[in-house]
Symmetry: C2
Subunit: 321 residues, 2 copies
């Protein structure tokens, strides 16, 4: 089969690419060709088993999406997007990349006419507070950021185009991905990872919000697992509601820190400095806390079940040779 | 103040225009200028008290929306759109008019920079089944039509642009407007009006769905009332959730027919012929039934309280000299 990955140079995109190359197959079928797309020039890993092509460009630009899907891929992972902080800081960029780019891709797939599986990374940012203690699958989506708005609009389009048979779409509302490896990006959620990743390698980290903030997390490893699992779902079983809130570990920041203490000891915890930041708090206080994620469970999506597991996944995947 | 009405040649647009001219003011301020826009050429009523300008064109066309709002209106009623049946039959037209046209208008207002009140007609089509008996304000929005999808995407944009201060938007989720005067349009909901309007003037009408179908209605008079009321709301009081599900009369088709019997007698009822239509039923069975509309009530929106009232409003407004 032929597989497309957009946002292939991003953190999750790279991990997904690696997994696809290692597995050699997805959704029960051998991968013959892999088209990797990103707006940023990047060097792809190579694989002896499949034909790998790198595409660089702006998906919203005239003709770019059409060229990418002209070979009529069987499976499209659409991960490309600018993150929440950037979409908030740069209105036009956010709408162009997160909405227009997605719409251009979806329309190009519609015109290609082969109705592939499309797996789209949405976000729990489609929700806005106030929230109940545990957010049910049918809770309304009233985003409080431009990023969440763009994801919601894209979700709606995915649902409509799937209903009309242009493709077989699955939208995945990712929880916050934690522990993010590497350097912080502009996502306001960065501190959730920083306070774990940095102390694990002996570096200090700043906690800008109160310890009783509760939020839901899944590891990068789970993120890739979600994508792979979505690729193989039976669309008929998913039904007409194509956007799925994923499971994760709902914990307070205090519980994250306790998990760090259990896994890495008090010395690691001592590297966390509390330094309240009103700008971060203004965003974070509107974020969702815990999800029921009942449908995702029924459809077989799995995440970690404790924050200790999330930390151990990071150590295994990023800090081991 | 300066007021813009898009979709001014439509049924609600014409009634709103008439009301604005009769009242001479809206939201407590005198109307000095009224800009009426539609894609279809139309002849506007004139008013001695205000400067009325007719604009004809496609809002999604380059520069059209910018020209319309260049005089920096204080209040914009955005009613323009293609109806549900047409948006379903013609995918590209629906997205162009209902999404791109709305986005072009919202962006033009953003660039004009004076942050007016924007009143946007959304629809209960943003909801999709299965439904609870009474749909609460925080029920999720998963439309099952392209029309509903386009309205939902526009609502999301309105909410984000209001949050960012580009304008002070109010989205109104209209129930089905009944009794629609004039000829049927392509809306699949047309029969709800036909079975009342036609028998009232001695003409036969077809009922294509079962009598136990429950749906929510408000009169054209109430529709105009909703728009006028929204124009005068305090945005701070509305808060961050700018899209409001409106009240209406939730009745079964059987109850509609009983109301017709009470108001116009058995002879009128005898003109209704039951003729099941699978295509209409396929759409209608997914439509919402009754709404709690609690927020709308708190914000002072009012509709009829019985279907008898809705029929009497039609007789007074359309069938009296």
């Amino acid at each position: 089969m032929r597989v497309v990955v957009t946002g292939a140079a991003g953190m999750v995109g790279r991990k997904l690419t690696k997994r696809l190359m290692e597995d050699g197959s997805v959704a029960g079928r051998t991968i013959a060709a892999l088209d990797l797309h990103d707006v940023t020039p990047f060097e792809a890993m190579s694989s002896p088993a499949m034909h790998v092509t790198v595409h660089v460009g702006d998906l919203a630009a005239e003709g770019a999406a059409a060229a990418l899907v002209a070979p009529r891929p069987d499976l499209v992972f659409h991960l490309a997007g600018v993150v929440s902080g950037e979409a908030e800081a740069n209105l036009e960029l956010g709408y162009r990349v997160n909405l227009d780019g997605t719409r251009a891709l979806f329309d190009a797939i519609r015109h290609a006419g082969n109705a592939p599986r499309v797996v789209f990374t949405s976000s729990i940012a489609v929700y806005g507070g106030p929230y109940p203690d545990v957010i049910p699958d049918d809770f309304h989506t009233v985003p409080l950021t431009s990023y969440g708005t763009q994801k919601l609009m894209s979700e709606a389009l995915l649902n409509d185009y799937s209903r009309r048979g242009f493709f077989d779409g699955i939208g995945l509302r990712f929880p916050t991905i934690c522990v993010r490896p590497g350097k912080p990006n502009k996502a306001a959620s960065g501190f959730f990872s920083n306070i774990i990743r940095e102390p694990l390698v002996g570096l200090p980290a700043v906690l800008p919000v109160p310890r009783d903030v509760v939020h839901t997390h899944a590891s990068p490893r789970s993120a890739v697992g979600f994508l792979i699992h979505a690729a193989g779902l039976d669309g008929g079983q998913v039904g007409p509601r194509r956007n799925i809130t994923l499971p994760g570990v709902g914990v307070s920041v205090g519980e994250q820190i306790e998990a760090l203490r259990r896994v890495a000891g008090q010395d690691a915890v001592d590297l966390i400095r509390e330094e309240p930041d009103e700008a971060v708090w203004a965003l974070v206080k509107n974020w969702p806390t815990r999800f029921e994620a009942r449908r995702a469970g029924e459809l077989g999506f799995k995440a970690e079940t404790s924050f200790d597991e999330i930390i151990r996944a990071h150590i295994e995947d990023e800090l081991s040779d």
